[in-house]
């Protein structure tokens, strides 16, 4: 052995046994020389330097269970192919891109079956296998929000286009809120008629031809708003016509568009 270079030795072409030894110079031990002492070290011990070992300690947070083909982080006994255990939020996904979809789901096929994620303002997104969004939550409470906007003036504001959607418009102030259900119909990309519920008087309104209606927040000194939904571009607008409270408008739909 001592007359051969390592390159001249017989290769161990299988995984080393737990107790197999590699040579290492322990520079912390100057027993044999000032530069260190040559020792033997096992492969599992080498891995501990990279945090791979017990799996349930701070120094060794990763467990590779080669008997069962499992990976554990924060656990010494992973019960699935990959198990992550920790306090608080133990699992985090970060994409360096600004895309909203962060996690893909696949099965035995090569292509993705679906995605989930979050973007700068919406904390939850679901998309199909081609990445088209199907469902979202946020930015405020509520599903599939096309708009969430805050205002403090008496101008008419084009909030968003409502075309072939149904859902709820929520106008909120500090003294209460008004929820206006709506159901619209139209052609491809073209708005036509809609029905909206004038909630404060529980009156069903026919919209889409430029007509408007007013709703008043029943809270103390609540604002009154003029609501417009037009055909064609599907323009949905809100205008504060009396009152002085700042307000937010959220447009939610029961399916993503």
């Amino acid at each position: 052995m001592s007359t051969k270079k390592i390159t001249g030795l017989t290769e161990l072409s299988t995984a080393p046994a737990v107790g197999d030894l590699l040579p290492i110079v322990d520079i912390s031990d100057t027993t044999d020389a000032a530069s260190g002492t040559t020792k033997g070290i096992t492969v599992p011990t080498i891995h501990k330097a990279a945090g791979i070992g017990a799996g349930n300690t701070t120094a060794e947070p990763v467990k590779v269970d080669i008997s069962n083909g499992r990976l554990g982080v924060g656990t010494n006994a992973p019960t699935s192919v990959c198990e992550i255990v920790g306090a608080g939020v133990p699992f985090e996904v970060t994409s360096s891109d600004s895309n909203g979809l962060k996690v893909a789901f696949t099965d035995g096929t090569a292509s993705a079956r679906g995605f989930i994620g979050a973007d700068g303002t919406r904390p939850f997104l679901v998309a199909n296998n081609s990445g088209s969004y199907l469902f979202s939550i946020g930015p405020q409470k509520g599903i599939n929000q096309k708009a969430y906007a805050a205002y403090d003036d008496d101008d008419a504001h084009f909030i968003c286009a409502i075309i072939n959607l149904s859902g709820v418009i929520r106008i909120a102030e500090s003294v209460g809120s008004i929820n206006i259900p709506y159901w619209s119909c139209g052609g491809t990309g073209v708005g036509y008629k809609s029905a909206m519920l004038e909630t404060d008087s529980v009156t069903l309104r026919s919209m889409g031809d430029g007509t408007t209606f007013s709703v008043t927040n029943p809270g103390t000194s609540g604002n009154t708003y003029q609501i417009l939904h037009n055909q064609g571009n599907g323009q949905f607008s809100v205008e504060r016509t009396s009152g002085a409270l700042a307000y937010t408008v959220t447009v939610m739909s029961d399916w993503y568009a």
Binding site: S98, G100, D119, G120, T121, R122, Y133, P139, Q145, K146, A147, Y148, A149, A150, Y151, D152, D153, D155, H157, F158, I159, C160, A161, A172, E173, S174, V175, G176, S177, G189, G219, N233, G234, A246, Y247, T248
Partner: protein, 106 residues
């Protein structure tokens, strides 16, 4: 401390139109006001209409370009109104107070 405003686009909807592929038909526009550790955001889905002379391929688009499109559609007065609406939230509660669900402390 002055309020800082940031704008972003968080998603876009596209459609093929004639020879042009992935024409952006709408974009989700966000404007966020930040002061200290507080921030508020307004979000609007802006319809962008038909393809225009300045059509650029989807992959060549930048966030600034699409923000410009959205603001051109909305108009400068709407951007001012959105900023005003966000600014007021730092001093005035906008929505009725309701208990909020939180993570458990144990």
């Amino acid at each position: 401390m002055a309020i800082q405003y940031t704008k972003s686009i968080t998603s876009m909807s596209t459609e093929d139109e004639g020879d042009n592929t992935d024409v952006v038909k709408s974009a989700v526009y966000n404007i966020t006001a930040t002061e200290g550790n507080k921030s508020f955001t307004s979000m609007k889905t802006i319809p962008l209409g038909d393809v225009s002379d300045d059509y650029a391929s989807y992959d060549a688009l930048t966030e600034d370009v699409v923000i410009g499109w959205c603001e051109a559609i909305m108009g400068s007065s709407e951007v001012v109104a959105l900023k005003r609406g966000l600014e007021v939230q730092f001093t005035t509660p906008f929505t009725i107070g309701v208990p909020q669900e939180k993570q458990l402390p144990w």
